[in-house]
Amino acid sequence: MLTLRTTTARVTCSQSRSNMESPHEQQQNQLLSRIITNVEKLNEAIAIMNSTLQDINFQNMNIELVAQMFKNYQSNVLFHLEATDNLKDPA
């Protein structure tokens, strides 16, 4: 997004230099400003989303921990049952 913004700014500069009298200039400038506004809004939205996701991920690390612990426990139990020949087929 940042690169896009810089390219659009460059385009604006070159256009303003070369097509000063062009009837499209105003329209393009308006379009560019609209684009910039939209990008800013999008940036904000994405920043909000990122922070939300970060919080959620931080919270989910505990869940992940529990899941991993259970997974390990399950593998250990499996190993033990296999080693002691106590593993039975599920009913």
Binding site: L4, T8, V11, Q15, N19, S22, H24, Q27, Q28, L31, L32, R34, I35, N38, V39, K41, L42, A45, I46, I48, M49, T52, L53, Q54, D55, I56, N57, F58, Q59, N60, M61, N62, I63, E64, L65, V66, A67, Q68, M69, F70, K71, N72, Y73, S75, N76, V77, F79, H80, A83, T84
Partner: protein, 465 residues
């Protein structure tokens, strides 16, 4: 001619202007498209993605609420408290990262997107490793020990069963595996297999293997990565597992849970000190094993204490947390014969009541000793007064018997200071127990209160304090 020449020129210029116009229109159209795309993106993000993310957050919160108990459960069982913390990547961590990059390049995962999950899985694996057993096979040994307490295996043995290890040794490290988790799991097993395989020839005792393992690991920790075999994967996990196995406090090298941008999310496992929420010893066979193996091999036990992994550091494994006994030796005089013991036990079983005052115990002992002396010597006191032993005991509380005692006997009651010094401790402990019992609702036996004892107590206390 000139017209002819100018006409095409003007036509060309016209066409150029048209072309410019066309270009301008195209640019405008493109800009419009870009604008619409951005607005569309913004709309999608705000209208559909963000609510979904919030919903996801709520759901994951609900999941965490449900799984919170299990985290506490595992924490309590491992006697560690786990917490995530955020660490901004600094220079210290760059070495860490380079090894990761080496690792990933080794895995031919040049794509940066694949690198992150790789690390992520590693970190997860390490985390779990630390949390439960350090090594899955390690915990399997724990399990085995707990289920078959009679075999000689110790719980802290880090080596998997010999057949398994041998087979794992054969498995190549770089075999094509489905998931990175499997790969790392396999690798960990292979590592432990190598460690055990080297030691298997010498002895099969898993405890000794564990000692060697733990003894080796800190050394490995100190060796730089360059000392590793070139073909071997220098992995981060190795280091982490070493730290975990050795039970050393990692130097800010806690296992990484996630790596997001310039932040590392690490897992901090702190052993719980003075944790009292554990079930009493004897409930967990694992802990029994740890404690029961100590006396058998004191040296090993010492070494184990120093190198024990943090999750194995449970209060019950240390001898100092023995459960307090209500009837301790303080209440049981060694001189007492079964007759007196039976008399003591016929009363309230509780020590506070049976030994109401220190004077009683001491008196009875003294009386008994005098009785012994007298039995050995010339004339027994009881016989002198025509009394049996039992009557002597019962009359012990009576003042008359003391008043009628001969001077040598009375001297016996004036106990030496060494015995007096022992008295207040007994007195204090008895009183504590008595208070406890009173608090618990036990009614003290009033019959044991005698004026003699009540009278004698302050004297003794005054002498000692």
């Amino acid at each position: 001619m000139s017209r002819n020449t100018t006409v095409p020129a003007s036509a060309r210029s016209l066409s150029l202007t048209e072309e410019l116009e066309k270009l301008e229109q195209q640019i405008t159209l493109t800009l419009q498209e870009i604008d619409s795309n951005f607005s569309k993106t913004h709309r999608i993000v705000t209208s559909s993605i963000l609510p979904l993310v919030e919903q996801y957050g709520e759901h994951s919160k609900a999941v965490w609420e449900s799984s919170k108990f299990w985290k506490q459960f595992f924490e309590a069982s491992a006697n560690v408290s786990l917490s995530n913390y955020e660490q901004i990547v600094n220079e210290e961590d760059t070495a860490h990262e380079t090894t990761n990059d080496d690792l990933t390049s080794h895995d031919d995962t040049a794509d940066g997107e694949q690198r992150t999950p790789q690390r992520h899985n590693q970190a997860e694996d390490n985390t779990v490793t630390q949390l439960l057993e350090g090594d899955s096979s390690d915990f399997q040994d724990h399990q085995d020990g707990s289920f078959s307490p009679n075999d000689g295996e110790t719980l802290t043995g880090s080596t998997p069963r010999p057949p398994k290890t041998k087979s794992m040794n054969i498995i190549p490290q770089f075999a094509g595996l489905d998931s990175p988790y499997d790969l790392l799991r396999q690798e960990m097993k292979t590592e432990s297999g190598q460690a055990s395989g080297a030691n298997d020839d010498s002895e099969d005792d898993t405890e000794l293997l564990f000692q060697q393992h733990t003894a080796r690991l800190p050394n490995m920790d100190l060796t730089p990565r360059t000392s590793l075999v070139p073909g071997e994967r220098p992995n981060l996990q190795n280091q982490d597992s070493q730290i975990l196995f050795s039970g050393m406090k990692p130097k800010s090298q806690d296992p990484i849970m996630h790596r997001i941008l310039d932040k590392n999310y690490r897992l901090l496992a702190t052993p719980m000190k003075g944790y009292t929420g554990l079930p009493p010893p004897g409930v967990s066979p694992i802990r029994w094993h740890v404690t029961s193996n100590k006396p058998a091999s004191p040296d090993k036990g010492k070494e184990k204490e120093t190198t024990r992994p943090i999750w194995a550091d449970s209060p019950t494994s240390s001898p100092e947390i023995a459960m307090p006994k209500l009837r301790s030796a303080a209440f049981m005089s060694p001189v007492r014969v079964p007759k007196y013991k039976s008399q003591l036990t016929t009363g309230p079983r509780t020590p506070g009541v049976s030994v109401q005052t220190p004077a009683t115990g001491r008196k009875t002992r003294d009386v008994y000793s005098t009785r012994q002396e007298s039995q050995k010597g010339e004339t027994p006191l009881a016989e002198k007064y025509g009394q049996t032993d039992d009557i002597t005991w019962s009359d012990d509380e009576d003042e008359d018997i003391y008043g009628g005692m001969s001077p040598p006997k009375t001297i016996n009651f004036a106990v030496p200071p060494s015995k007096l010094l022992q008295t207040p401790a007994r007195e204090a402990s008895k009183r504590i127990v008595e208070d406890l019992l009173l608090t618990a609702g036990d009614v003290p036996d009033e019959g044991e209160y005698s004026p003699t004892m009540v009278k004698m107590n302050p004297d003794i206390l005054d002498d000692t304090f």
